[in-house]
Amino acid sequence: MADNGIGTSHQANTALIQASNLECKNLYDYLRTRPSTLLDRLYNHPAICLAVYRELPEIARQYVIRILFVEQPVPQAVVASWCHQSYSKEHTHVCQVLSDLFVWHEAPIPGGLPGWILNSTFKRNLKTALLGGGKPWSMSSALEADNKARDVSFLDGYSAERWECVLHYMVGSQQQEGISADAVRILLHAGLMKRDEDDGSPVITRQGFQFLLLDRQAQVWHFLLQYLDTVEQRGLDLGECLTFLFQLSFSTLGKDYSTEGMSQGLLIFLQHLREFGLVYQRKRKAGRFYPTRLALNITCSQNKGVPVLEEDAPKGYIIVETNYRVYAYTDSNLQVALLGLFTELLYRFPNVVVGIITRESVRQALRGGITSEQIIGYLKQHIHSQMLSGDNKNALPPTVLDQIKLWELERNRLIYSEGVLYSQFLSQADFNALKQYAQQTGCLIWSNKEKRTMVVNKTGHDDRKKLEIEECVKIYPNIYNRNLPNEIWCDDADHEHCIEAFQRFCPRHFIIDMMFVKSTTWPVCQF
């Protein structure tokens, strides 16, 4: 299913050409980076507690709900016994997550054993979200019925249109009206677009491409996170905005909410949300707004793929055949443009677009920075329901998927690493000693015992040089380090020893005529 970027952020990339990939944080990662004072403030609102609760790992949720109604601290040993022996690693991970988020903290119980107790604010507010009895959320005072009420399908259309405006702008198809300067600023800040050197207009980046291929929920969430980063600069309060955002995500689709009682900052925030299509307001000054589907459950970017149960999930429209042909039953320019990123479009009809996946088209996408997982994820996400109803396991032809992955691997056949070649060792013992040393310090790239050659990376090389000089100086007391860090000099009195030292430690050396240079030092070559 769509890769939300969590995997890409952990990609270990040993190539010298470091590819920077799109990093999408989930709620846990985001909150972890916030200061704990902010978290304390945030936990005063039931909506945030509920959102955080939902994003916890499965076992953590069970733990929390079990001790939600318990007033005293619970011994850690007891909590550890709740989890099965074979899953103890998960247990420790989960305890770590809960501590990082300040959901619980350690507290000693009478008797001295360490125990866990839930953060009292969090506990209180989670109970409120569950059972009621607290203050009403900010946007929900009673309203008279709206005589121009909007129904769900209108809201869906509206939100799709607004959001696609942003995406169209990124892709560069200039059909609809452009987006506001604010939105462009956010895109630039997020690294999804960058200012082109020639004419200063924004141009999409590698991460931008990857962003386009994510599923809608993940896109909204990522975008909002970037927006929240810039919120402080605009003079809005981060805590307030976050609270409002989460309250919005728990509202009911199709119902209107009042703007009464919202602060100025929140109203500005609301206008921005209106622009991105998360809420609908008839006029700027209207006293009510409707949340759209994009705003609902925005933190649920972690669930693997398929969104909701009802019939209103976005319909899949792509069919992939085993002869690498792709048929997309759509007429949206955006979707056609996205497909064009990695397929070669052949024909276009009023309701179908036919393309073919070729090596060239995929390589072009790979060059642009899209990974094969993202291509596959995008195809899987928008797959036509007809293909799914046949065989659940292999909805897409495995030959095509494997080939896309192979085309990506082709580019990784050669890995470039800069290094230094050591050859012409005088003895096997030297070679072995040095190789072992290089392996221990982890800078050995390649070695060949028969030819007594090895390649060490630059840092190792520098380290080694220092080591060699130290050793040389240790053995031959009249040789010392001077001038450049990779030169050794020697007094003329010991020049036989010097020559021996040079032969041993330096691959190349010159001996300047002794007669000519009367100085007391003999230069040595670099090594």
Binding site: Y53, R54, V306, L309
Partner: protein, 242 residues
């Protein structure tokens, strides 16, 4: 609460009828956020309270017969089948049925129970049972067949605790947590004449009714049986020939 995509249905059943309490018939109530509670929860609470009130007040007879639990589970299975039919293809759903009951077991619903359990097994629906009062051997068999959990609550004050601890996690998570182990279930059959559990019995080959001792006529299907003497001797002889 656990996941945004989880869906819930609640049914109530007693000796006369069984009904869906949530989602109730008709349109959902109009809920306003008043006290900090998540709106969906408020909706569930209010709907359940309203519909339960309706059921309890319209039921006026004082005759105590047993609850028709098997039929209610059958309705729940039809509901689950409908959801499975109309879902988007490729979506995986774990469905389960939790039965909270205080009434006793009865053999008169045996057939219905068995049909329902086998259907649940086929549809991969897990049936959990929370028994408040008596031990329910029939429902326990059902939990065993469908890989569910059977729990008899010792103290009623701890009901919430038991529900949260044992029945909240969904089946894939249950293997990670330490939960009450399944008890060995007694699968002996009861004879049709005395309703006693028997070890060795006689089964009519036509209608499969079980009797504890031999009788020449089957009481359910009225088939006449051959006298057993020569029959068993014949089969013994055949075995010796082998």
């Amino acid at each position: 609460m656990q996941k945004a995509q989880n869906k819930l249905a609640i049914m109530a059943c007693h000796s006369k009828i069984s009904k869906f309490v949530y989602p109730g018939p008709g349109k959902p109530l109009d809920i306003r956020q008043v006290d900090g509670q998540y709106e969906v929860f408020t909706l569930v609470e209010k709907t359940v309270k309203q519909n339960l009130m309706k059921i309890l007040t319209t039921e006026t007879s004082t005759v105590y017969t047993e609850s028709l639990l098997a039929g209610t589970i059958a309705m729940a299975l039809c509901y689950i089948a409908r959801i499975l039919r109309t879902k988007t293809p490729g979506l995986k759903i774990n469905s389960r049925i939790l039965t909270v009951t205080g009434s006793g077991d009865s053999a008169s619903q045996y057939m219905n129970y068995m049909n329902v359990f086998f259907t649940a097994q086929k549809q991969n629906v897990v049936i959990d049972v929370c028994a408040l009062d008596q031990h329910l051997s029939l429902l326990q068999q059902g939990c065993d067949i469908t890989n569910g959990l059977y729990l008899r609550i010792p103290q009623i004050q701890g009901l919430l605790q038991y529900l949260l601890w044992v029945f909240l996690p969904e089946p894939p998570v249950r293997q990670k947590l330490v939960l009450p182990p399944p008890v060995k279930v007694d699968y002996r059959a009861a004879c049709f004449c005395h309703r006693e559990l028997i070890d060795v019995g006689y089964v009519c080959s036509v209608c499969l009714s079980i009797f504890c001792k031999f009788s020449p006529i089957c009481t359910t299907c009225h088939t006449v049986f051959k006298i057993p003497g020569p029959l068993t001797v014949k089969s013994k002889k055949k075995k010796i020939k082998l």
